[in-house]
Amino acid sequence: MTAAVPVLEGRNLTKYFWVKQGSGLFARKAPVHAVDNVSVSLEARKVTAFVGESGAGKTTVARILAEIIKPDKGTVLLDGKPVPPGRPRSYARQVQMVFQDPFASLNPVHRVRHNLERPLQIHHLAGRRSDAVVDALLARVALKPPAQFADRFPHELSGGQRQRVAIARALAVRPRVLIADEPVSMLDVSIRLGVLNLIADLRTEENLAVLYITHDIASARYLADTIVVMYAGQLVEVAPSTELTDSPAHPYTQLLLSAAPDPDRTQPPHLKDRGAPASLLAPPSGCRFHPRCPHAMDVCKRKAPPNITVGADHIAACWLHVDPAERQASENGTPATDQVVSDSQKR
């Protein structure tokens, strides 16, 4: 990665949610390990994608970075400086977010104009020219002619148009970071690419650092420069997007890829009995993926894997990529077959 200071950085973010277990007198609170020790950095003009199943903690990381919720541990840094607590307005000016459901993220009682003007008013950006700015914003997200859209209510717009309005609202304050939480998953297939292309264009034209959260690894490959794979609240693999999909190093990434629809597949996938995602209330010991992993070794059950650099800018948290001798040194487990290691190294 380049040596430039990332625009937005999360270091060792950890977030537990507390849920009540049992009932009556015996009720006790147990932590849900939503996000465990996740570090992420977003650079200008780059799209970073977070990929994983539901419950992997993708959205929680996004909400921590948007300062909607506070992490239990870890820090968020903007331009290398820790963000003061209490969601200051100056932070809102720099970091904006687009939500998954365009039908829920626009207030049904307000016109499009209100949605775009408020951020300008809050940050004292528009003054009396706000009409012109609103028109320019609508044109920016390809809602043309802008005059036709500004005075509509959200329910008068289609899903794609709503999501464009939501993106325009996020852009209104000219932020430097855009966090997009599943921005296209609620949209019709035929209009998804339009919204993804819009985000891609904005990244270059507005110098945005984009965090793109998705469960669709193919769209992450299409849009993102870097893909981060999360499993059960932890990072399992980080790599440049094509490298990640072409030669995944972590067994979970491999599982995700084989599950994704792929009409060009030459071989039917075999995924039977791979179990369900790990419980976040009682996460498995060691590597959280080990109960579902076909290559699980003894060490995987006992000790969390270190982050291993397996290629240029390519990191995987998996014991398979640790030298067997080293693995033994760090833990006196008996390693299973090394077949897979050489397999993935071959690729």
């Binding site: 829920a104 993220s105 009682v109 307000h110 951020p119 794609g160």
Partner: protein, 722 residues
């Protein structure tokens, strides 16, 4: 890279008004508003038209003097008279009281006081409840706990006794509208506060609130500008309700004599309760002086009715389902459509049901044939044509994929075919032939037209021969009994010949078939993950060995890995059990791997049908071509992709001609006027509805790629064998 601009379909359409302002205009609401209007006018200006002061008495002229029997001349006692009130006359519109007062004047004064007390009580209560409810709901935490505690305590104290105590302890209460109203408000605000708190709690975590928080909006503005307008219908409904209960409370305490007498000191106010009290205390009922006690009683009842009627309107606004129920039958009559409706079955217009046509199978292995099926939502001019003239053949043991975007009519088509849609959906045309040949059991062995079938026949076919798994099915399990008990119930009804152990064995067999452990039968639905619940639904659908499975986005709500596992299991079961499947999804890339044949829907019509691999390798329809290029590939170099410009059409306002023409880069002039119909084209079993393939039009090279030699399944099996 360029950005396609989304076009507006109706550029000239006038802006619709905000939903907040649109109350349903039913006769009920209008009657309510008229009643409220009359009372408001009377309350506002009635006092200017009082013929007399309500306290004025004229004991000489305004009562009838009746000699007490046994007094007067010839009895030795001095003449003694008792007063009798006068019945209504021109001078006294509503007669007089026994105290020689004018009832009409009292009623006018009472209406004002009663309405104003009710209104002010409601205003105070609503303001209190908004402050408490919304603040508690939005801020949460200890603030919420504290405020909720206060609200709950006020709720726990019985209202009327508190009111009586308060009214009794504030001696000047009766003489002041504000004090009486405040006392009443204190006893009624907590109900609304609780409702508003609950609503705010659910709004607080909605995305649009979070979005304005992210944009740096302050707390007060979020509450006032973002949350409160969304609560207006609820606030309005509870405002009316509080007005009504305020009026009732005021009438009640006055009737009990706690609001001070208008002639006492300090003087109370004339109100309906006071009028009733005086009347009842002075034998108005026994004396038959109805003009004295009936008017205030009728006023209380009428105003209550008016407020309740307007509240109905607000309820319907909050909950639109109330509005549509019962509406469809009326709409059908209005449109002159004869509809046969049976509870639990999609209604069918008489015309469609009568259309007796051939019932012979078009191919020998057809199991479900949809012929010329059209489905509307609503009737007459307001009808939305959700499905138009669709023909589809599902063959035994095959998977037919039905692909389309939201609003393309794919789900409507499938659910209408087995008559699962409720009114206002109505089948206007067509046949759905089910050629039944059950594998086991005692299902019918014949051809049934499901459009013409009665409830009995439908019951025989549904579930046991044609089973359905919906996207939301995983929420259809009964949450209070175990999965095993639900299997047990179903098997007991449909397979009465099995005994208890056999039923259990069958249930275990079924859940193991879909990859679940037999132990899971002991679990309650909430103890299972979404994937497991959908698996149990599939097992349940398979329990009676149906010939057809209709799968409507069965895995869309699930994670990719779970989705893949379930689909794999389903396909394995299909091979083993031999059912035919109609698989509905928006995910064309998934269908290509899964289905034998694929049909593509757009704007309520079937647009292309072909074997899966042929459709994927060499689409003939511009829409299919575009759709296939909406899925970024998993391999190769990354190239910018375009998607399809514009957005899917609104069924209420379909473009003329081919519904796809505004988004089609190859559209001909003809496409704008004439609707293309599905017709065969050269190639293995292919049909397309596109003018580009008719009458020697030149087909663009993208749409004339050669047909692939093999099917997807051939390819996959070959790889497997190697």
């Amino acid at each position: 890279m360029t950005i396609d601009s989304t076009t507006i379909t109706q550029t000239t359409a006038p802006l619709r008004r905000a939903r907040v302002l649109r109350l349903p205009r039913s006769p009920k609401v209008i009657a309510g508003l008229v009643i409220l209007g009359v009372f408001t006018v009377v309350a506002l200006i009635g006092r200017f038209f009082e013929p007399y002061s309500p306290n004025q008495t004229d004991t000489q002229n305004w009562v009838q003097h009746v000699l007490v029997p046994g007094t007067g001349e010839g009895t030795g006692f001095p003449a003694n008279y008792y007063p009798l009130p006068l019945p209504p006359s021109a001078a006294h519109l509503l007669g007089t009281t026994v105290f020689a007062q004018d009832v009409w004047s009292q009623l006018l004064a009472s209406t004002q006081a009663t309405m104003f007390v009710g209104l002010i009580a409601a205003v105070i209560a609503t303001v209190l409840s908004i402050i408490f409810g919304v603040t508690a709901g939005y801020i949460g935490g200890t603030t919420d706990e504290g405020l909720s505690l206060i609200a709950n305590v006020s709720l726990a104290i019985p209202g009327l006794p508190l009111l009586i105590v308060l009214a009794d302890y504030v001696p000047s209460a009766g003489s002041s509208l504000i004090i009486v109203a405040a006392i009443i408000a204190v006893t009624t605000w907590a109900y609304t506060a609780r409702t508003l708190r609950a609503q705010t709690l659910s709004l607080r975590n909605r995305d649009f609130i979070e979005a304005s928080r992210v944009s740096g909006e302050g707390r007060l503005r979020i509450i006032g500008v973002e949350i409160l307008p969304n609560l207006i219908p609820i606030v309005a409904a509870s405002f009316l309700f509080t007005t009504l209960s305020g009026i009732y409370a005021y009438v009640a305490i006055s009737f009990l004599g706690l609001a001070g007498s208008p002639t006492g000191s300090p003087a109370g106010l004339w109100n309906w309760g006071e009028m009733l009290r005086e009347g009842f205390a002075n034998n108005a009922v026994r004396g038959g002086w109805w003009w004295w006690w009936a008017p205030p009683g009728i006023c209380v009842a009428l105003l209550g009715t008016g407020l309740a009627l307007v509240n109905f309107g607000i309820d319907e606004f909050i909950n639109p389902r109330l509005r549509t129920s019962g509406l469809s039958a009326k709409a059908a009559r209005k449109a002159g459509a004869h509809v046969s409706t049976t509870l639990g079955l999609t209604p069918v217009t008489r015309k469609a049901a009568d259309g007796a046509a051939s019932t012979t199978a078009s191919t020998p292995d057809a199991v479900l044939e949809i012929r010329g099926l059209s489905v509307d939502y609503g009737f007459g001019d307001e009808a939305v044509h959700a499905v138009s003239d669709c023909n589809l053949v599902l063959r035994r043991g095959r998977v037919l994929g039905l692909a389309g975007e939201s609003g393309s009519g794919k789900t409507t088509l499938a659910l209408a075919a087995i008559r699962l849609l409720r009114a206002p959906a109505v089948i206007t045309k067509g046949q759905v032939l089910f050629h039944s040949k059950p594998f086991t059991g005692d299902g019918p062995r014949a051809t049934i037209d499901l459009v013409a079938a009665g409830p009995h026949q439908m019951r025989e076919v549904r579930w046991s021969e044609i089973a359905v798994v919906l996207q939301s099915s995983l929420n259809a399990l009964n949450p209070v009994i175990t999965i095993g008990a639900q299997f047990e119930d179903m098997l007991r009804v449909h397979r009465p010949q099995l005994d208890r152990d056999e039923r259990h064995a069958r249930a275990v067999e079924l859940v193991e078939m879909v990859g679940m452990n037999g132990d899971r039968l002991r679990s309650y639905p909430h103890e299972l993950s979404g994937g497991m619940r959908q698996r149990s639904m599939i097992a349940m659908a398979l329990a009676l060995e149906p010939q057809v499975m209709i799968l409507d986005e069965p895995t869309t709500a699930l994670d990719v890995v779970t989705q893949r596992e379930i689909l794999e299991e389903l396909m394995g079961l299909r091979d083993r059990l031999g059912f035919a499947a109609l698989f509905i999804t928006h995910d064309l890339s998934l269908l290509v791997e899964l289905a034998d044949d694929i049909a593509v829907m757009y704007g309520g019509r079937l647009m292309e049908r072909a074997p899966a691999n042929a459709l994927f390798r060499s689409p003939r329809l511009p829409y299919t071509h575009g759709l296939l290029h909406c899925f970024p590939p998993m391999h190769g170099k990354r190239v910018p992709m375009e998607g399809i410009p514009g957005s899917p059409p609104d069924l209420r306002d379909l473009p003329s001609g081919c519904a796809f023409h505004p988004r089609c880069k190859w559209a001909l002039d003809r496409c704008k006027q004439e609707v293309p119909v599905l017709a065969p084209i050269p190639g293995p079993n292919r049909e397309v509805a596109c003018w580009l393939h008719r009458d020697g039009a030149s087909v663009p090279p993208e749409l004339s790629l050669p047909d692939p030699a093999e099917t997807i399944r051939d390819r996959l099996t070959q790889v497997n064998l190697q």
